[in-house]
């Protein structure tokens, strides 16, 4: 097991290296310069600034320098935010995004699974149609529409929660709900399909023939068998939500990483682009590892042979 995890971590480093390399050169193809007011500066002034940030060196040299710094954990300094460390800026910004994404995922998964379970248990009944309707609505209407509706009705009309900004926990409520709609829909749909399939399988009949009650059949025998496909879709979805969503962060004026990432691309703020990309890539690979380990926990057939 330990060997397997170490091996996976090894692959992880290789993957990160490849992503860093690829992104670095890709980024150099972006049009424009990091100088926001290039036309107001003279040629000499521009040269001085570019020289200061090492942007006059040939690209391979820049790449080599960046990679050397990267191995020492130095992500460089941002061009646009007063020469501050990229690490500091990202850490500052990732907080709100992670909070929103995490809350949305937890709520989304729990509510979605419940809806899916209800659907499966009361298959083709009134409750099934109700929850399927919620799932279809959640999947087909974009989150910014919900965001607007929530802001207007819950925020403005009812005044229960603040409409925007980031000054305390109550500010997270509306964006969290807006973000949670999608995972609710996805989890509900998958849970329903999988649970229906599982409930129709032979071992469920065996369990019923033993005298197990409905609750035991669904939760003790069914749930674990229905979870694998759900985890497969929810993992990547979680990364997507936790690494910032531009639209929701903009609508609710949340100082998150998604909004900043887009801004960095627009202004050619190379160190920020690199830093954010690497962070997202890292989280992604990490979650995939976690999911693979979870598979083993849930399904003994996927578990690694003892001692490996």
């Amino acid at each position: 097991m330990t060997r397997y995890i170490l091996q996976r971590l090894g692959y992880m480093i290789i993957t990160m290296f490849l992503i860093a390399t690829f992104t670095f050169f890709l980024m150099k193809f972006l049009p424009g310069t990091p100088l926001s007011a290039a036309d107001k500066l003279s040629e000499e002034q521009q040269a001085v600034v570019l020289e200061k940030y090492g942007l006059n060196d040939p690209v391979p040299v820049q790449y080599f320098n960046y990679m050397v710094n990267l191995t020492q954990g130095d992500l460089g300094i941002s061009f646009q935010f007063d020469n501050r460390e990229v690490t500091t800026i990202i850490l500052e910004r990732i907080g709100p995004s992670m909070t929103l994404g995490f809350q949305a995922m937890v709520i989304g998964t729990i509510l979605g699974m419940l809806l899916g379970l209800i659907s499966a248990i009361y298959h083709n009944g009134f409750l099934d149609y109700g929850s399927t309707f919620i799932a279809v609505v959640g999947k087909s209407i974009p989150s910014f529409v919900f965001a607007g509706i929530l802001q207007y009705f819950v925020g403005v009309k009812l005044g229960w929660f603040p409409v925007a900004l980031w000054e305390g926990w109550e500010y997270t409520v509306l964006p969290t709900v807006a973000l949670a709609i999608f995972p609710i829909a996805i989890a509900a749909r998958f849970m329903r399909t999988e649970m229906l399939e599982v409930l129709g399988s032979d071992y469920i009949t065996t369990a019923r023939a033993k005298g197990v009650n409905k609750f035991g059949v669904v939760f003790k025998h069914g749930l674990r068998n229905a979870l694998i496909p759900l985890i497969t879709v929810l993992g990547p979805l979680a990364i997507g939500l936790m690494t910032g969503t531009l639209v929701i962060e903009n609508i609710f004026a949340v100082p998150g990483i998604g909004e900043q990432f887009v801004k960095a691309i627009n202004t050619n703020d190379f160190p920020i682009i690199m830093g954010t990309t690497l962070l997202i890539a890292f989280l992604f690979i990490f979650i995939i590892l976690v999911i693979d380990l979870l598979y083993g926990v849930i399904d003994p057939r996927i578990r690694l042979a003892e001692g490996e």
């Binding site: 032979d202 071992y203 065996t206 369990a207 023939a209 005298g211 057939r301």
Partner: protein, 352 residues
């Protein structure tokens, strides 16, 4: 009162979009303590549905017990609700399923799957249940039970899994064991092992067994009595000797005739022509008439009642009526009957 089970006029239907499928259409049989009844018939004849209905394991909806009584020790199972049935299932009646590859929960340890019933019905604590699991695994012939009970189904072979399924069914010493084609999914050598095991266990535990199969070789091996089902009805019922050596129903002739035998190498294997009727709209008269070369005019118009051949032997065919013409059973059946000349009788049945 030595009748353990008495099924009276059982009807089971499935409500589908196409209409009501009458899967079981008036089944009557009984079972004494310790007795083994085999139910045979083609796929779709209602064997499984009948036995699943006994435990109320048919999916509802679309399935439902339309009418009839299932008297188990005098209590009518057909009228029990889900809660009451949960106390019967696994404790008084248990079931062995066809495919051991799919009938065990893949994500639960084998020991826990056996323990479940013990903890639920016998109110055992974990350590008592564990002890009993070791005993049970030993009983069904699984070596090294202490370690095996901690393993998952995928670590067992097909035959071993079926032994586990048998152990689950036996856990609470049920009075009635229903085996729904327990050997069909296994290869032949394993089939023989499982059959031996089941016979052995039946001797030890003295539970009554209903054995569903379409393998007549298995029937001869395990059963005391045989019920032949066709299109949702029992068409002939009797002791093993009655059915094998003095069959009266043309359908039973067909079944027996389509059994390969070693001493008739030159013949082509017989198959009953046609296919079973659509139970969405069962035919008028005898359901088998269309495939029956011995069918009489009355078979097309009126359903045959059960005729009594002997105290143990009944068959639903108009051929047993006193006005029916004398019809010779096919040669292969006659050969069988001659082999058991003492039990064959030329007498006409008596209507019951």
């Amino acid at each position: 009162m030595d009748k353990l089970l008495d099924v009276k006029n059982l009807h089971v239907s499935f409500d589908t979009y196409g209409g009501e499928v009458k899967a079981v259409r008036g089944v009557n049989f009984d079972l004494k303590k310790g007795e083994t009844l085999a139910i045979v018939g083609e796929s779709g004849s209602g064997k499984s549905v009948t036995t699943k209905a006994l435990m109320q394991l048919i999916p509802k909806p679309p399935g439902r017990i339309k009418e009839g009584e299932i008297l188990f020790e005098g209590r009518d199972l057909a009228k029990m609700n889900e809660k009451q049935m949960q106390k019967i299932r696994g404790k008084e009646i248990s079931m062995i399923f066809q495919d051991p590859m799919t009938s065990l929960n893949p994500t639960m340890k084998v020991g826990n799957q056996i323990m479940e019933g013990l903890i639920k019905h016998q109110k055992m604590n974990k350590s008592q249940a564990r002890k009993r699991v070791v005993e049970l695994l030993d009983l069904v012939g699984i070596p090294d039970p202490e370690n095996r009970m901690k393993q998952y189904p995928h670590q067992f072979s097909g035959g071993m899994r079926q032994r586990v399924v048998v152990a689950i069914a036996l856990a609470c010493n049920p009075k009635l064991l229903i085996a729904d084609e327990p050997t069909t999914a296994l290869d032949v050598t394993i089939q023989a092992q499982i059959l031996e095991l089941m016979k052995d266990i039946q001797k030890k535990t003295d539970s009554a067994t209903i054995f569903i199969t379409h393998d007549l070789g298995v029937v001869a091996n395990v059963a005391d009595r045989v019920a032949v089902m066709y299109a949702g009805k029992i068409v002939e019922i009797g002791t093993v000797d009655d059915i094998f050596y003095n069959p009266k129903h043309p359908y039973t002739w067909g079944l027996l005739g389509s059994m390969p035998s070693l001493d008739s190498a030159d013949e082509e294997l017989y198959a009953i022509p046609g296919s079973p009727p659509d139970l969405l709209d069962p035919p008028k008269g005898d359901a088998f008439a269309a495939r029956n070369e011995y069918a009489l005019q009355i078979d097309l118009e009126q359903e045959p009642p059960m005729f009594k051949v002997s105290d143990t032997h009944y068959a639903a065919t108009w051929l047993l009526h006193e006005h029916a013409p004398d019809i010779e059973p096919p040669a292969s059946i006659k050969k069988r009957m001659e082999g058991m000349a003492n039990t064959s009788s030329e007498s006409k049945g008596e209507r019951v």
